[in-house]
Assembly symmetry: C2
Homo-oligomer: 121 residues x 2
Amino acid sequence: MTTQEVANALVKYCSEGKFEEAMKALYSPDIVSMEAGAPPGQSRESKGLAAVKAKGEWWAANHEVHSTKVEGPLVAGSYFTATFKMDVTFKPQSRRFTMEEVAVYKVIDGKIVYEEFFYSM
Amino acid sequence: MTTQEVANALVKYCSEGKFEEAMKALYSPDIVSMEAGAPPGQSRESKGLAAVKAKGEWWAANHEVHSTKVEGPLVAGSYFTATFKMDVTFKPQSRRFTMEEVAVYKVIDGKIVYEEFFYSM
């Protein structure tokens, strides 16, 4: 798949809330995922599909998603970008809030090998 | 200005090739600019408006721009993203090529305080 095709597929999966399916179909085993920040003592970076899936599973288990809006993708060479706006409740605190973030992805040989998220904390 | 207004203004300036005017109007004195890579011994990061302007001046002096296409912006919270596709000639080597990059910007108090560029090298 081209970068554009991977980008279109990711946006479609995520718009439908199918984050796990997106990883399974589109992510490289060697994916590196970078958050804007991390709790003290933890890393911003997750390496490898197992670690990135585990991060996604923690997130899914701890948040109720009321709505997801994905805009983009914009594609440039082997990179693409999209924005995510999610209305969610963090279940352990019953706290409802809107997440807004810019995401950047790198594609090599039809698989996403790097993702980075930009948001204010 | 809101993040959306800053984003719209930046895209308009850059689409018209007015990169220096964009910096003057929209960049914080404390801007940090991050490239995808740097030559050996040099930093990916430029700090402060003078350093970032100097990087822009070097670029403008060494490239002839045949066309510029900017797509976006997509805005999420205090961040926005856009893509740049430029057909340029690197003048010292008379080498014509297409630059394609994803750019991410952070806005605080109506000024761009951070920019990062993603491209393959």
